[in-house]
């Protein structure tokens, strides 16, 4: 994906900053909004070059819908995995089977790879140890399948079907 124009990247940064401002002040008072807009414009001008590469293309409706659908899906996966790790902690025999496995991904976008690595780390039982050339090295508390294909099927595939739409 090539870089979007400067104006598009700047506007995207301003909109994101302004939304965060509205959430933080949690007030729709006109004075609050005005000063927030001024600060968003100033901070956006200073930081847009490091903040985003694709600009307003991030607001494509399909990507937003998949992004919103990803949140409950991810929280549910995190809850289930948390209960699984809690079971391993509480079980008297401590049924763990740890190891470092290698996974591959179909994602090519850098931000997508970052979100995938973060999602893997946030899901209990798996921590991303390193990412090299599109290969993920993951510490897994219960190795079910040590082969690259089997591990990818278990760890990266469930997130990929959302992320490859959000970050094409």
């Amino acid at each position: 994906m090539g870089e979007a124009s400067k104006i598009s990247r700047y506007l995207y940064t301003v909109i994101v900053l302004f939304v965060i401002w509205i959430f933080l002040t949690s007030s729709l008072d006109i004075q609050e909004l005005e000063i927030g807009l001024v600060f968003s414009l100033v901070v956006g001008a200073l930081t847009y070059s490091v903040f985003t590469e694709s600009g307003l293309a991030n607001f494509h409706p399909k990507r937003i819908i998949y992004g919103i659908a990803y949140i409950p899906y991810f929280l549910w996966a995190m809850l289930m995995a948390n209960l699984d790790v809690a079971y391993r902690v509480l079980h008297p025999k401590r049924p763990i089977n740890p190891g470092i496995v290698e996974c591959e991904t179909v994602l090519t976008n850098d931000v997508g790879k970052l979100v995938l690595a973060n999602s893997i780390t946030l899901t209990p039982g798996t921590i991303t140890l390193d990412v090299r050339d599109g290969k993920y090295y993951i510490h897994w508390i219960d190795v079910k399948d040590a082969s690259i294909e089997g591990a990818s099927e278990n760890i990266t595939k469930p997130f990929e079907k959302f992320l490859k739409v959000i970050f094409p």
């Binding site: 790790v85 509480l90 470092i100 973060n118 991303t128």
Partner: protein
């Protein structure tokens, strides 16, 4: 006693249970990598439950929606930053040469590093 403050209290309780479980895991697990698994993860869900729980509790108890938006922002930033620190810690542990637990079944990362060294 409104329904939102009850939900909020339940979420805070839920979060503290996961804090307790992660502390227990810290004691029970055999090596640094497995300890990271329980410590960082349950802390995330625990913190999420407590932080968002306080926001929802405030809707009923304080009667203000301004808490819940702030707590959601805090939770989002927590979810963005927590895994990066966990990744940095576990990678630093591996690079400084801490061995895996003897019950570990596979170490593909070591194989990859050796392969790379052989190519050079």
């Amino acid at each position: 006693m409104s329904i939102t403050s009850t939900v909020g209290e339940f979420l805070v309780l839920f979060g503290t249970i996961f804090y307790f479980l992660s502390t227990l895991g810290l004691i029970r697990m055999p090596d640094v990598y497995n300890r990271m698994q329980t410590a960082t993860k349950s802390a995330t869900l625990g913190s999420l439950g407590v932080i968002v729980g306080v926001g929802i509790w405030a809707i009923g108890h304080v009667g203000s929606y301004s808490w819940v938006t702030k707590t959601i922002i805090i939770a989002v930033f927590l979810l963005l930053t927590n895994p990066i620190s966990a990744h940095a810690l576990i990678r630093a542990a591996y690079k400084s040469g801490i061995p895996l637990w003897e019950g570990s079944v596979v170490d593909k990362y070591k194989e990859a590093l050796e392969r790379e060294e052989g190519e050079q």
